[in-house]
Symmetry: C2
Subunit: 146 residues, 2 copies
DNA sequence: TTTACTTAGTTGCACAAACAACTATATGCC
DNA sequence: GGCATATAGTTGTTTGTGCAACTAAGTAAA
């Protein structure tokens, strides 16, 4: 009976991701208060583009763990907000390379600060070594299921 | 600098809840394969009703960490699937008490087994004491932000 | 080079979430 | 009793997700 230490109440939280839901909601509120007209999902796409832009939608799918239609629509909305641009690849005309606009570049610093602030609030009073264990477990869970 | 052990890449996973997304997706696939015509969100409502039925929609909001419109529509859909029934409270006519149908009672055992199975797959190779730490940290995060 | 297959992206549909605005009922205070 | 306020639930709108079906473009093999 491997790892069957889940009494009923605990099972629920794991499946529904109450903790990450709470984090995302708190961060969304911070975005709204700061006047950033940006959803968490849109931010998560920009997040990867800030690390490396000019990647394809398929690469964004892999990076953000979303399917292709989800990325199509997130890029649609980001394009409407004038935060990214689709540029057809010259080598392979099936591919859209996604680039940041200047406006999106300006959002990076502020939004990342709010994200770090949110995590600090979330992890207040949690000792660093326990945070490390938690990160490690969540990574394994992801690797086991992806 | 409290808990600022978040390098960029790790920040992302925490905010987006990649692990819990992976768990929910895996469980949804198991539901589908088993012919259970049920979303994870619907299951999460039934989950609380299996523990105690005849509670109000507001109590379901608190239990499932959702807002009132979300619960209204989940109950709408569960009612359409003939899994729950709204019964007006006699004491307070604003309140709907939610009861399970016989059909919903029959779903409990099978779906809970699939949920436990999913968690066992997720936590395969993770030592029990690390799982405990992880659960503890996620609970604190939730309490810090809710 | 024509046919089959694969890959990148889009569209349609059903379901869900968050917010604001709304209705109906209950409660508390004068 | 009558008015203000609070609570329970619903509805409308925008955004996002997952699946299936689709188009366009590239690849490989006969």
């Amino acid at each position: 009976m491997p790892n069957n230490q889940f009494k009923k109440g605990e099972l629920y939280s794991f499946v529904t991701g109450k903790a990450s839901t709470a984090i995302a909601r708190r961060l969304q509120k911070k975005f709204n208060s700061a006047g950033l007209n940006l959803t968490i999902e849109q931010w998560s796409v920009l997040y990867h583009l800030w690390k490396k832009e000019g990647i394809s939608q398929q690469e964004l799918c892999n990076a953000t763990f979303r399917d292709k239609p989800s990325i199509t629509r997130l890029v649609d909305n980001l394009e409407r907000l004038d935060l990214v641009k689709r540029v057809a690849s010259e080598n392979d005309r099936r591919i859209n390379l996604i680039y940041l606009t200047r406006q999106a570049q300006k959002l990076q610093e502020q939004s990342m600060e709010l994200a770090e602030e949110t995590l600090n609030e979330a992890l207040e009073t949690v000792p660093a070594d326990k945070v490390d264990v938690c990160k490690e477990v969540l990574q394994i869970v992801y690797d086991n299921l992806k």
